[in-house]
Amino acid sequence: MLWALFLAHVAAVPAAAAAGRTSMRAGLFTAAAAPAAAAAWAAAELAGGGRTNTAELVWVGGLDVAIRLRADSLALMMTLLVAGVGALVMVYAAGYFGRNAAGATRFPATMLAFSTSMLGLVWADSVWTLFIFWEMTSVTSFLLVGHKHADASVRMAARRALVITAGGGLVLLAGLIVLAESAGSSALTAMEPVSGPAAATAGVLILIGAATKSAQVPFHVWLPGAMAAPTPVSAYLHSAAMVKAGILLIAVVGPALRGVAAWKWLGIAFGVASVVWGAVGALRHRDAKLILAWGTVSQLGLMVTLLSVGTAKAVLAALALLFSHALFKAALFLVVGEVDVRTGTRDIGDLGGLHRSMPTAFAVALLAGGSMVGLPPLLGFVAKETAIEAVLALAGAERAVVAAGVIGGSVLTVAYTVRLLHGVFGPGPPTPVGANRPLMAAPAAILGAAGVVGYAALSGVNRIVVPAAAELSEKADAYSLIQWPGLKTAFVVSVLIVGVGGVAGALWASRGVGRLPAPVGASAADGIVDKTLGFSPRLTALVQHGSLPVYLAVMGTVAVLAAAALASDFAGGHLIWWDHPLQAMLAAAVVIAALAAAFVGSRLGAALALGSVGFGVTGLFLVHGAPDLALTQLLVETVVVVGFVLGLGHLARRFPPVTGSWRSVRIMVAAAGGLAVTAALAAAGTNPTGKPPTLDLVAEAVAEGGGKNVVNVILTDLRALDTLGEVVVLATVAIGILALARVRTRPQAQTQES
């Protein structure tokens, strides 16, 4: 079933692109079908008790190269969120874009491709599968964020998101390799707990990777910029999907790294910093979408903190938060998008009075905002209550740090939520609104109402979240989410949070909207990219400067180093002067011709001398009893000499003078090359490794190849794969020459025409 759903997604990507040719709406509805099916399947599985489905495709068995998928309770919960919210957002996007928006062949297909990668990521059961889908989400989200690519600032934002998340992906890969090596298995579930320095290294690397994806301080700088994307993209990527990837990763590798102190404390540091700084950011901005984006940083920090704490109750609270956050944050994004489309602005300083003109949106925003703040009777209340209980159950420094972060962040969350709702819907001259858009309102209403329904039917939510938490921490089975905790410490803390935060938010909102905060960090990230882009042409100019003599000198030096390594094997005992006196004569001729090639001043003379070297070597092959080699060498030399005659016509008759230190370098490289090759050949010749394989080859050639010319049978039969590779190389070279020649002729052809 996993394969069927996954392949349905993959097949629907081109289908969505094709349907997009008709209209954006058709493309999006086509794209929404596959996620809707996946969500329905996940819901049915969860209702049926949540069996674990697995599927695998082994490619290279011995190397553990395989795609392994596994849908356990946690993955089913994530599937429900990723696919369900995905399908709703695609329907919403149909309303957002209007019937004939541009990019209709691109957007639905990319959206579905992202959804597919996300599904693969959720189902991945080996670190390699996870990594592949992880990177796929980075790439597809880059395309989605950069949807309006005509705008330079959008391109910048998309590039920043890609650089940070893909860079984090590489760090993650390193961490996953270390983890898989020290755990002795690449399977994600049931990974043995690891310890020691390797585990700490893996933990830190994986956390950094997860923090880039889940926008944790200081890697959060890409997320506000990514709000340049169309609102459906923001609603999907930054509520239910992309940013949850890091949370999911921390959750699934958490059990293996639970005992590692570095993992726990770095995670808490990331989390607490993000809870507070994200909420502060949300208070400073006036673009409603940016407020939500910064709020996401804060909420994700809360989940990272709880997962890093790692007690059974904290894990349960983190998953409950994850579940409710996906619903309320998506709903809020969708409402803001609708406000944006219908009023033409998202600035809370310009908006106001929308509670009368957009009552449905207001109701949804109240429900979702209430869930974000943690008010009953909403799902967010249950999640936050569990989180505070989990934090209060800790002890010592851990309790102080985490409680300060969680409670402080929650107060600020209340404040920015109040400010946001007040700014958009609150009193003031009502902003004029455009026509109703039912396709936008309906998905938002469904997601907003889900918070109430979830609270009312909390036993159903428990059946989803508690088994999921139990996958990560066995003791989580003992807990459950409760509707009404009664007058306990946690509840008192909750009341205080809402009270203080509400007052602070109301005061802050009535103070009006201050000046826009300077974006901290984003410029640094962009600076790194710009510096790199500026540096790479200089590096390329240094390495690929286009001077043939310098290339040859570099290659010669490398060859010398390679040959010199062999020279130490030289064993003087086996060295003889010659097998046959003719060899000495031919060798002398070769040496003289080589010297002539080096010293002669005319180009043609040098070419002929080089040819003489080749013909001398041909003679040596003949004397040695290799007619085939000799014939080939002879023909190659002939073609080369004649080719020289053809090519030299374009050059001056004599070599240009070479002087100074460059001349010394050339002489040194040439001399070192000669010496190193001589030494290496002498070493090879004086180290016989046993009886030559000639006799076996002859027998095999006649028996299997049916030919008496051993060399030819080797080339065309026994080792024909080598020959196949070589001729393909030859053909590639020929095509390269043709292309180069074409580059040279094109400007000439133009000047001729003019």
Binding site: L635, V645, G649, H650, G705, N709, T716, L721, A734
Partner: protein
């Protein structure tokens, strides 16, 4: 006048070319049992092409088609055995009788060898065309494609 394109040289090369082609074909077929083979044959054909270019007789044409044809032959012969379950590059030996020539023994290795020689010819003619393309055009006179006419752009 270009010293490479005197009538004596042109005539010599024109007379020698068919002989060289015969030698090349011999090398191609002899390769299985005597020195020779596709690579050597390709080099002989290539040398002929270069000589004819220098003498201003003819420049090789259809380089791309030659390369494509050679690669196609080699790959098809290599991968065809997989279709009937034999390993990659498995050879078939065929023996049959012909009038006058007697018993002929050949095999798919020959097709492979012919493909190799075609690729080599393609490479050489790509080099020729590359070198000719880069020569400075001197105003009057286009490089001629036909046989027997002196080429403007040949070496001085």
């Amino acid at each position: 006048m270009n010293p490479n394109q005197t009538p004596a040289i042109q005539l010599g090369i024109r007379v020698a070319s068919p002989l060289a082609i015969v030698v090349g074909v011999y090398l191609l077929f002899a390769g299985h049992n005597f020195p020779g083979g596709g690579f050597a044959a390709g080099l002989v054909f290539g040398a002929v092409a270069i000589l004819r270019t220098i003498a201003g007789l003819q420049r090789p044409k259809g380089t791309t088609a030659l390369i494509a044809c050679g690669v196609l032959m080699v790959t098809v012969v290599s991968f065809l055995p997989i279709l009937w379950g034999d390993p990659l590059l498995d050879q078939r030996v065929v023996t049959f009788d012909l009038p006058l020539l007697g018993t002929i023994k050949t095999g798919t290795a020959l097709v492979f060898d012919i493909g190799v020689s075609i690729i080599v010819v393609g490479l050489v003619s790509a080099i020729i065309n590359g070198l000719s393309a880069s020569q400075p055009t001197q105003g009057a006179g286009q490089p001629t494609q036909g046989a027997g006419q002196p080429t403007q752009g040949a070496p001085q």
